[in-house]
Assembly symmetry: C2
Homo-oligomer: 453 residues x 2
Amino acid sequence: MKDLKQYIADNKDRFLDELFSLIRIPSISAEAEHKDDMRRCAERWRELLLAAGADRAEVMPSAGNPVVYGEKTIDPAKPTVLVYGHYDVMPVAPLDLWRTEPFEPVVKDGRIWARGADDDKGQSFMQAKAFEYMVKTGQLPCNVKFMLEGEEEIGSGSLYGFCEEHKEMLKSDVILVSDTSMLAPDVPSITSGLRGLCYWEVEVTGANHDLHSGLFGGAVANPINILCKMIADLHDADGHITIPGFYDDVLVISQEERALMAQAPFDLEAYKRDLGISEVHGEKGYSTKERTGIRPCLDVCGIWGGHTGEGSKTVLPSKAHAKISTRLVANQDYNKISQLFKDYFEAAAPDCVTVKVTPCHGGAAYVSPLSMKAYQAAERAMETTFGRRPIPTRSGGSIPIVAGFEKILGVKSILMGFGLASDDIHAPNENYPLDQFLKGIETIPYFYKYFCE
Amino acid sequence: MKDLKQYIADNKDRFLDELFSLIRIPSISAEAEHKDDMRRCAERWRELLLAAGADRAEVMPSAGNPVVYGEKTIDPAKPTVLVYGHYDVMPVAPLDLWRTEPFEPVVKDGRIWARGADDDKGQSFMQAKAFEYMVKTGQLPCNVKFMLEGEEEIGSGSLYGFCEEHKEMLKSDVILVSDTSMLAPDVPSITSGLRGLCYWEVEVTGANHDLHSGLFGGAVANPINILCKMIADLHDADGHITIPGFYDDVLVISQEERALMAQAPFDLEAYKRDLGISEVHGEKGYSTKERTGIRPCLDVCGIWGGHTGEGSKTVLPSKAHAKISTRLVANQDYNKISQLFKDYFEAAAPDCVTVKVTPCHGGAAYVSPLSMKAYQAAERAMETTFGRRPIPTRSGGSIPIVAGFEKILGVKSILMGFGLASDDIHAPNENYPLDQFLKGIETIPYFYKYFCE
């Protein structure tokens, strides 16, 4: 790779300026008030793809937020890499925990601090800049397509239809995604599996209006107490999920494979120290990495009801709400799980309340075989720049559309991400180390090289 | 009582105008931003007491919100009635459930609709207008004192000290309180017992910051799930509270007394229909009226944590919170219960989280013996105007300061309230029937008459 390091060093400041122009647009897909920002962010991506060397780039309509599509064809006979990323970001609440403005990127202590610095503006932008390097230095070995969506953080609802509609346009030999993490700055790894996802909102209703907790307390069901009991009952004492049939399709990993995975370096004490916890907590019989890698889980992502403001208002509320999600593993069908939960939770409601479950979104788990040419190209690329063979890992996170790509487009994805656990994606003070950003740009051209050999 | 009905009919519109001037001041004691409104409301009460015929009236300082004090002495040798009420009101959230503005009273369908219409502006103002009638028509049979506080809805924290400091000024033979309900418009009743109260805020902390629910879910404790389990464990399957020692001091009511209380008219089907519920819910072995009257209970008044806004954000939050209250019955010491709960709940926290319990406020239960002269005067007064002997009832609600009066001032209180269960106090669309307001003004002078005979 001719002049690769020099090119990055010479253009580093411009790369950051361009990235920051994306970050400054608060493209929060979960919040309707940011509708205009979604389009603005897509338009900005289109400009940046053209500037990086795409032959054409467009902001294309979907059923929801627009999709940015760009391409450069050098020879139809050569392979095609489809780069996938997303330009939408997570909400930023609670704002008071941010040490800097979420949408005004700051470089400090060797990191970029901002919402989207890693997930996924920072990571997907590395792809654009590696592409630019290959185009500008005449070293692009294949055709490249870019597809950036605006609904990943809310389940990629519209992208499935977009892929169905544009199968021909999206034809490719592999889908390259930078939206995952490495084990540590000096321990490269490639995500060979992702968990799936299912998300519901539940509402428990007691009396038809808020009541005085003295006059009615003890005689009329309190929907918060009932909701708490129903949530508590979703796990047994060993941390297993109690929904009947929930584990039926879970892919059971062999003891040998578990032993291999256990070789990935993991310092439980440092993990606990970083999180400020005395003990980890999860399903009996599995290690911490297994609990997030090969086992499903169920978490309440939000709960609210009654008086949540200042002071000690005594009220017996009419309603209580929760947002509940599960992470699924290979073979679990999210539509089936979604229905299982809804049926179980609604039926579990005692007669004194009514319970409504609204399924929100879901996505399948994904496994990438280590025998794939693309996996091996990514492995060699990371070994070249990091000086160490990357470890295959299973991520606890979900990129539901990756399973969708396989189903709709018939193309496997390779998840070559450069994030770190300390990047606090989805949380206050999201950040992305500059070194990871630059090392990512340096690594990606090698992937192209080895994939096209 | 000379010209009593005529006086009320002639002055009704003015009575309402004056009451509305109190209601329009949003004197929410639980919200710091209403500090100025507390003083404004106290000042307005002072003017109204003077206008009603008090010799003197003052807004007096306390450790917290000011106390309105007024008096009229006709003869030091005669008995003294101390009227107690409160000018503070509950918060109004959730605002979107109100059909009218909470602080702009509207008379519709024979009811006054506003926050404070009943609790306690409407009820305490009946006392002022009955007093005015007796003064203006020369029929006041004894000395009268008024004391209106601004912290009843947050536990009367400053009034205990105020009473200690002003024992001499507050000397009286009975304390008359209109802050309770009757069984029905045609079923007068007198509250012979009140429940006590204990209130805590709890905070459960897992990791030191919000985490990605995919990357950490299943391996790190979710404080919402843990809080739900801890709340669920506060009751057993029979609806008994599980805190060790919680029931130790509960006054056990004899089977005969339970049988007597059971004679009060109560239509369970109508109760359920009014509340829109299929089943009541409470402690095994007790009727609905007993569950609120003679048994303590524990309710979550508020809960919050994680993502509570729009959309399906996947987050494993750092913290979860709840506001938890119990209602106590006679003999239970709220300070003891407060400590029992704190010790139990904090110790119940699993190692994977930390739990902090902050006691908020509390108050003792109260029982008024039916043999008291004041009880009998109230009974005769209500029988005179309602045409039916009132039934003694135990209220599930709490007026903690009433037990405080007995302890500090050595004076018993008589709880002659005219509210109805349908008044929705503490809830959206609080209201007070005009008929109850006017009938209350008509009844109170008879209390004075019979009490002084």
